[in-house]
């Protein structure tokens, strides 16, 4: 058993900020990027936080990402806009886009922003949840490296293309859905591969488009299944949802759609040209937000209190496990894998920072 080390979130946040600054990011933007990444670590999405930092820094160091983008509105109507991210860091572009969606929703009730020329932005829920404090619902999508097959296909033509939908409740935690539109995200395959374990049929296709229980197929021409898996069990729906995300994020914005999207881990020096989609909807445009919150609480409680399947004692609301992770990790620190510690230490040393002050 490898030993995880707990690191205080304030320390990790500060280190990540400094590493971004050392890579040429202006301080205000470095804070934005570090906060977006640490949100993943806090919420238990370990694959999307500090562990991804080396890729972000690598793309800055080799000039693939623009550290000082001029983010521009290319086209605009009162409720919509097309944004050019100027190949900036994903979180910097994404935060600005969601702020624009919220500003539009404040004026006309809803704001929809499609973004071209951006990069990997971390977890979608970080941006959808920005709407909550404003009494709004947030819907966020992004396309990503193509590794999901269409139904009856044998090649990765779409990304795991996540959808996050955040909705304010009353006294309860908000509803926060954040899901890949594939059956599982890449991280689950990687974990099985690292632990040398079989995976359930339904996650991964081999290069012939047949289900495999061997996670190593992911590096041997295999591809992820869309949510639902086979046609019989509804895989064409996951494929359709992945297309919806690709259309709103990348085709509407003229970014790299479908198999053109190589994503964060690509070694290419060309910009990723990732596409995102952001929507904010003002609840007050429909019902007073406090009344809406009461109905949300009733709806969520009725789910939690409904009969359980044999052997189960709890029904979860989307976002609940993540809020519990966050409470625990704010208290006790963020557990980092030794490899993550090593990578961060190396990045720190290269930047002339003493890692022992932080890790």
């Amino acid at each position: 058993m490898e030993e995880f080390k707990r690191v205080r979130m304030e320390k990790l946040l500060e280190l990540m900020k400094k590493l971004f600054v050392a890579a040429g990011i202006p301080e205000q933007d470095a804070i934005i990027a570090a906060e977006a990444l640490i949100a993943a670590d806090l919420r238990g999405i370990d694959s999307h936080g500090a562990s991804r930092l080396p890729y972000y820094i690598g793309k800055l160091k080799n000039g693939t990402v623009n550290p000082k983008p001029t983010i521009k509105i290319l086209n605009e109507l009162p409720a919509t806009a097309l944004l050019d991210g100027d190949n900036g860091l994903g979180p910097v572009v994404a935060k600005q886009a969601m702020e624009l969606a919220i500003a539009k929703a404040n004026k006309v009730g809803a704001g929809l922003i499609s973004v071209r020329r951006s990069n990997h932005f971390g977890i979608a829920a970080y941006y959808s949840m920005m709407a909550l404090k404003q009494g709004m619902m947030g819907l966020v999508m992004t396309n990503s490296v193509s590794m999901v097959t269409p139904t009856f296909g044998a090649k990765g033509m779409l990304g795991t293309n996540p959808i996050s939908f955040a909705v304010p409740a009353g006294k309860l935690h908000p509803f926060v859905l954040d899901m890949a539109t594939s059956a599982v995200p890449l991280g689950k395959i990687e974990i099985a591969l690292k632990n040398n374990k079989k995976i359930p049929a339904g996650w991964l296709y081999d290069s012939q488009g047949e289900f495999t229980e061997d996670p190593s197929m992911i590096v041997k021409g295999g591809n992820l299944a869309p949510l639902g898996g086979t046609r019989e069990l509804g895989g064409h729906k996951g494929y359709g949802l992945a297309m919806m995300v690709d259309i709103l994020s990348a085709i509407l914005s003229d970014a790299n759609y479908g198999a053109k999207q190589e994503g964060l881990m690509s070694m290419r020096k060309e910009p990723s040209n990732v596409g995102h989609f952001f929507m904010a909807v003002k609840v007050d445009g429909f019902r007073p937000v406090n009344e809406f919150g009461k109905t949300m609480d009733q709806a969520l409680n009725s789910l939690k209190e409904s009969p359980k399947a044999k052997g189960q004692d709890r029904i979860y609301i989307h976002g609940e496990p993540e809020f519990e992770f966050e409470d625990e990790r704010r208290e006790n620190g963020i557990p980092l894998h030794p490899m993550v510690i090593l990578n961060l230490s190396n990045l720190a040393k290269e930047a002339g920072i003493n890692p022992e002050e932080y890790l």
Copy 2:
């Protein structure tokens, strides 16, 4: 093998219109309702067309649905509105709501409408596709009778809550996703039940929340699985999508959400108070619609031309099978099951209409 009878779509449309008029619906609204139902029959969604007419008529005859609703905007911002359907026929309310979404999108780029006090509206794609002719994308959702369990649950707490997303292409057919957020819609269980066939594990839970291959469990306390099936294969995502639909359609509008929704086939005399959600997005607000259409064609063609899984020779785009059904059925007539013919004939006779003129 029961023999299906082909009926010309013009005849069937006219008969359905007359039956609606005979049940007290004003002629203009009767045309709207008949056109919405026949769209399902044309597109091969046989469970949502003429076969459902007896339920619609039954609810009019027993006073559960209001034949002459006063549809009202209760709350409005430039991009959003809350609509009260006044317990009118679903298609009549839904068409007006989608028209309002389109009018708003024409003015400010996007229109989002949440609707309370409506009824079953047929297929969601009928309304999402209204956006296409305007160079818009349409997104339509509705809640429906609760028969889908949350993950780890054993009671139907959510409807099959469909999502339809329609997007214009260039020379190709538009992209038209129309999917229940359950693994399968109810119709698939009904067909297996009628044919006395087993169903795949992954569609239906028994009353204990365990998968069953026995379709008769649907009438013995069983419930549908959300898209994805088990937690391991992503069922919590289907559950989350069903919640998203319920929130936008029924909680945002204060309609009957979750387990309160009894739907079309309920014998209750109280109104169903179904909630819907409609969104129209003007493509031109982002990119010129003709350029967008070219990119759509390229994206769709790249999917169709991508490598096939072993034993497969075609990758489908969402909506393609339905456009092919429609071409064939417009040419050769709509195949109706003898039971549907019988039901329509009986309704016709009750209304003083000679069924032989139409069927």
